[in-house]
Subunit: 349 residues, 4 copies
C-alpha cells in the first residue's frame, strides 16, 4: 500500500481543520506536520476540540520549514500574500504543493496586482501552476503538476454551474449575472465584529456587491472554457449559516431549447458518478444536501416566459470549495482513484 506523506501549512483555520478531518481516516495518507502561526506548540485537538479523537498533531511554527523534508505534498492553507512567500521554498525543498490561497489562481501577474493590491512575489510560478478544478481541468495536467492552485469557493460554484453553457458558447458572454450566497465559515476563524453570532443571526446581508476578488478568477475560468473574453456581474451575500454556498446564475441563451434539452446538455457534460450531480427537473438545490461532502448539486431551469436560463449550484465551501477539492487534486496527482477519502455522505440534517 502506498503512503502519501503530507503536511499542512496554516492548519489552525477552518480549512486546515477540514483537511485533517478528511485526511486523518485515510490509510494511505500520513500527516507529517501541521503549522500554525498563532498556535505553534499546541496540539490540533486544543485548537479544534472536535479533532480530539483524531491523530495527535502538535502545530509547528510557520517558518520552520525543516518539517517539509521527506514530504510528498504540502497543502498550503495560508492567507493570500503569505502563501506566495512560502510556496517557492516548499517547491525548492522538493515537495509538491496544493495551494488553497488565491495566489496562484490568476495567470496574469498584473490582474492579480490590480485586484489584490499587491505585486506578485513569485510571478515565475504563475504559468506553471495548474488550476485544479478536476471537472474542468485536464487531469493529465494536474497529475504532473508540481504546483496546483486550488480554486476558490465562489469560483468553483460558478464555473461548475456555467461550464456546459460557456464551453458550447450557448449564452451571451456579456450578460451573465452570478448572485452567490455563502455561509460564514468562508470568512475564516479570526475574530471580527462582522462575523459575531449576534451580528449574523437573522441578518442576511449583501457584501462586496461590486468588486469581489473572486471575480477575475471566475472570468478567467469562463473565458478559458468559451475561448472568448467573458465578463460577469458577480455579487456575494452572507447567509446566517456556517457552511454552504448557493450560486444562482441568470443568463441569456443564444439559442432556444426546451427544459429537457438543457437538462440533457448538463447531464451529458458531467456524466454520472462524479462529484457533480445534475438534479432532475423539478428539484432545486439546498446547501444542507451537500453539507460535509465533496459534491456539487446543480439545477438548470429555463424561464420560458422571458427566455432567460437559470442555473443554481450548491456546494460545501469548506469541502468542494476548499479542502475536499484539494484532496481530490491530491488523488489525481498521485494516481489514486479520484474519490478516495471523499466518499462520506453529506450530514443531514
Amino acid at each position: 500500500m502506498m503512503t502519501i506523506k503530507v503536511g499542512i501549512q496554516g492548519a489552525s483555520g477552518y480549512t486546515g481543520g477540514e483537511l485533517v478531518r478528511l485526511l486523518a481516516r485515510d490509510p494511505e495518507v500520513s500527516i507529517q506536520f501541521a503549522t500554525s502561526q498563532r498556535f505553534a506548540g499546541q496540539p490540533m485537538s486544543a485548537i479544534f476540540p472536535h479533532l480530539g479523537n483524531g491523530p495527535e498533531l502538535i502545530c509547528t511554527p510557520l517558518d520552520d520549514l525543516s518539517v517539509v523534508e521527506g514530504c510528498d505534498l504540502v497543502f498550503c492553507a495560508l492567507p493570500h500574500v503569505t502563501s506566495m512567500e512560502v510556496v517557492p521554498e516548499l517547491l525548492q525543498r522538493g515537495a509538491r504543493v496544493v495551494d488553497l490561497s488565491a495566489d496562484f489562481r490568476i495567470v496574469e501577474a498584473e490582474t492579480y496586482q490590480s485586484w489584490y493590491g499587491v505585486a506578485h512575489k513569485a510571478p515565475q510560478l504563475l504559468s506553471e501552476a495548474v488550476y485544479g478544478l478536476p471537472e474542468l481541468t485536464d487531469h493529465a495536467e494536474i497529475k504532473k503538476a508540481r504546483l496546483v492552485a486550488n480554486p476558490g469557493c465562489y469560483p468553483t460554484s460558478a464555473l461548475l454551474a456555467l461550464a456546459p453553457l460557456l464551453y458550447n458558447r450557448l449564452i451571451e458572454p456579456d450578460c451573465i449575472v452570478i448572485d452567490s450566497k455563502s455561509g460564514t465559515s468562508g470568512a475564516g476563524r479570526s475574530p471580527s465584529q462582522g462575523t459575531l453570532f449576534s451580528e449574523v443571526q437573522e441578518g442576511f446581508k449583501s457584501y462586496k456587491a461590486v468588486g469581489h476578488r473572486h471575480t477575475p478568477e471566475i472570468e478567467q475560468g469562463l473565458s478559458r472554457l468559451s475561448g472568448e473574453k467573458v465578463s460577469v456581474r458577480f455579487s456575494p451575500h452572507l447567509i446566517p449559516q456556517s457552511r454552504g454556498i448557493l450560486t444562482t446564475c441568470h443568463v441569456k441563451p443564444l439559442v432556444q431549447r426546451s427544459g429537457q434539452e438543457w437538462q440533457a446538455l448538463y447531464e451529458s457534460y458531467y456524466g454520472k458518478g462524479g462529484f457533480v450531480r445534475v438534479l432532475s427537473q423539478g428539484n432545486l438545490p439546498a446547501t444542507n444536501h451537500v453539507r460535509g461532502s465533496n459534491h456539487c448539486h446543480l439545477s438548470v431551469i429555463v424561464d420560458e416566459r422571458t427566455g432567460w436560463l437559470v442555473v443554481v449550484s450548491v456546494l460545501d465551501n469548506l469541502v468542494k470549495g476548499a479542502a475536499g477539492q484539494a484532496v481530490q487534486n491530491m488523488n489525481i496527482m498521485f494516481g489514486r482513484e479520484e474519490a478516495k477519502g471523499l466518499d462520506q455522505l453529506p450530514l443531514f440534517p
Copy 2:
C-alpha cells in the same frame, strides 16, 4: 381624539399576530374583532403567547360577519382565494378594507387566473382596488379608497429598489434580474416538512426559481412606473432566518452615470424622513437593521467595470412587507400622519 374601529380577518397567521402587535399600543385604534378558522373561541394570547400582555381578544369564526358592524376598517389577512370570497361582503357591510392577500393586486382578471390557476371571483372590484404602496402610489387614491390591495413582500422590496430607475426610464426594460431572499415567516405558520427547523437550518435553498406568483405583480408595478411593458427575471430563495427579505437587482443602465449621480437620483426620489432610507455609498443593507420596523434600506452601486448597476433592498417581510404597510395605508386612508404607530426602532441584534 379619533378612534378607528378595526377588525382582523385571519388573525392566527404571522401577519395577524403582527397586526395586533402594531395596533395594540395605538391609542387611536380599537381592535373590535379578530377571526380565525382553526382557533375560533380561543384568545389571541393562547395562539400567540407573546401577546399575553396585549389586548384580550377572543377569536371569532371566519364566517360570522356580524362582528363587522360598526367597524371602520377590516384588515383581511386571509390566504388568496379565500380573501376574494370574503372581501365583497365586508365592503357591503360598510367597512373599508385593506386586503393583505394577492387577490386584488393584479388588475387584469386573466393575468390573475393564469398565475393563480383559478378564476377571479370578484372581478368587478379589480379596477376599484387601489394598490397601496404609499411611496409609489398617489396618496389621494389611497385616502379615498374603499379597498386597498396591500402589496406582496417580494414586490415591495423589488418595486422600491427599482422605482427611481423605471420611473425615469434609465435601464433596459428587458434585462432586469431580481434575485430575492426571504426568511421563513413568509411561508406562514401552517406545519409543513419543508419549513421545519431541522430542514431549514444550515439549508439555504432556491425555490420557485422560475414562475413565482409575485412575478406579475412586480411587472405590473414596474410597467406602471415606466409607462412601457417591463418583464423581469425573478427568483426567490429561502434564508435560514425568521424575518427579513433582501432583494438584489442587477440591471443595465441606458445611460452612463457616476456612483454619486445614481446616489443623488435615489436620495432625491425618496427624500428624507420617510420609510425608505438610501444608505450612503459604501454601506450595504442587512435584514437585521430593519427587523421589526417599517423601514426599507436601499443601496445603489454602479459596477464601473461591467457597466451594470446593482440595487439592494431590505425590509421586514411581516412589517413593511405586510402588516406595517397595511397600517401605513390605514393611516393615509383615515387622514392620520403616515408614520403613526410605526415609529418603533428596529430590534438589533
Copy 3:
C-alpha cells in the same frame, strides 16, 4: 410635560444600543450625550445601522465628562472595573446614576474582590447604592436613590423565579440548582473567537459550570429575601441565538403543596399587570415570547413523583436583563409610571 435629560456612558455595546432604542421614542426623555471609547466622533447610526432612523447622536470620548453638566441621569453601560472609576465623578457632577455593570451590586467589598479579582475602588458607595430590581426592591428606595445598581441578567431571571419561595422560606436553602441558558448578545460586541457565528451555530455549550461571577449576586438577593444565608448551585450555558435567557430552577420544597397551590402563591406574589407574568399550568416559557420586551414569563411546576419543584423563567437579557430594567428604574426614580416607554409587545417570530 417633564423632560428627563439623560446621558449614556458606553453607548457602543449592545446594551447602549438598546438604551437608545428604548429611550429614543420617549417624548419625556432627551438623550443629551452618548460616549464611546472606540467610536468617539462617530454617529450612533454608523455604529448601529438599525438606529439610522433614530436620534442623531455623535459619540463623545469616555473621559470628557463635561457633557454630564445639566443631565438628570446617566446610564452607565461600561464594563465592570471601568464603571467604578467613572461613577463617583458622575455623582459628583450632580447626575443620578443607573449603573448597569456589576460594580455596585455586591454590598460587601470583600465579596466583590474575591469574585472579581480586584479591590473595589469606590467602596464608600456600596452601602448607598440601591439594588434596582423593582419587583423585589422597595420602590421608595429606588425613588430617592442617587445610585441604582441595575441587576445582572442571570440574577434577574433567577431572583424573579425564586423570590416567592425564598421570601416565604418554603424550600431547602442549600439545595437550589439554577441551570441557566443565555443567548450570545450577553457576551457583548467585542470580537472573540468563541462568539463567532461559525463557532456558536449548532454548538450549544456549557461555560463557567462552576464559579460564574453572577453567583454571589444571586445568593445575596436570595439571602435578603429569606433572611437567612442561601447558597446556590449555578451553571450557565450558551444558546445559539442572539437574545434571551431561560433559567430552570430545581428546588426542594419544605412543605407539600399541590400544583394549584404553588400556582396561587406565585400569582398572588406578583399580581397582575406588572412585568412578571406567571403562565397558567400547562404552559412553559420560551425566550421568543418575550423577545424585545421588558417582560419575564414564569412557570412553576411540582414534580409529584419526586417532590421537587421546578421553576422556569425567561426574559430578554438586553431588556429586562439590562436596558429595559434600567429604564424601569429611571421611571421609578423620576416618579413616572413604571411601564412608561416599555409597553412595546414582544417581537415574534
Copy 4:
C-alpha cells in the same frame, strides 16, 4: 470478508436517514431493504436528497415483511407502540433486531404502561431484550442477543455522565438533577407547528419540565448501576439547532474529593480510545464538537464552594443517541470491531 445483511424499518425519519448514511459506506454491510409507511415506492434519494449519491434503495411498505427473509439484522426505527407490534414478527422470521424505539427499553411492563399510557403488546420479550448501551452493558450479552433495545438519546447522555458515580455509589441517590437540552431533530420529521423554523429560531424553551418519558429509562439504568433505587429530577429543553444533546447533571457527593480525584475516577472508568472522552480539567463540552460522530464528551467539575459536583455530557442525538449506537451494537452482535463504520470525525463547524 463477511457481509451482514441488514434491513431498516421506518427509514424515512431522521434516524432512518442516518442509518443509511452510516451503513452505506461500510463494505461489510449490505442494506437489503428500507421500509416507509408514507413514502413506499419512493427511492431514499427522493425522501432524502442528501442520499442522492448513496445506494439506490426503493422504500417498501411497512407491512410487507417478506423482505426480511435472508436478513441477518433489522434496525427498527419505528415510533413506539408501532415497534412492539412489528418486532415479534421480525424475530419470528429469523432476523435479529436492534430496536431504536422505547418499546423494549423498560423491563417492567407496568412501568412502560404507566409512562406510555398503553399496555405492552409483547411483554414476553421484555426480559429477553438487552439494553444496548455498550459502555455500560456486558458485551457478551449484546453479542448473543436476538433483540437489542437501543437506548434513548437523553438516557444515553445522562447514563454516561453519571455511571462512574452511581456504580461506585458516590452521590446521594435522591438528589440528582438532570437538566438536558436537545436539538430539534430529536422531535422527528413530521410537520408540526412547534418545530417550524419560525417558532424555534431564537426560541429556546422548556418542554415536559416534569414527566418526560425518558425518566424511567434513566432511573432504571442508574438503579442497575448502583444496585439501589435511584430517582431523578429530569427536565428537557429545546435548543434552536438541529443536532446535539447537552446534559448538565448537578449531584451531591457523599464523599469529599478533589477535582483531580473526580477526573481520575472518570478517566479510569472509561479508559482511552473508546467513544466516551473525558475532557481535561478546564475544558467544557459543546455539541458541535461531536456533531455527526458517535462520540460522547464529558466534563466533571467539583464546586468546592457548595460541595456539589457538576457533570456535563454532549453527544449527537442522531448518532450516539440513535443510529450510531445501533451500529455499535450491530458490531458487537456480529463480532466486529466496536468502532467499525463509526470512525468519521465530527463535522465542525
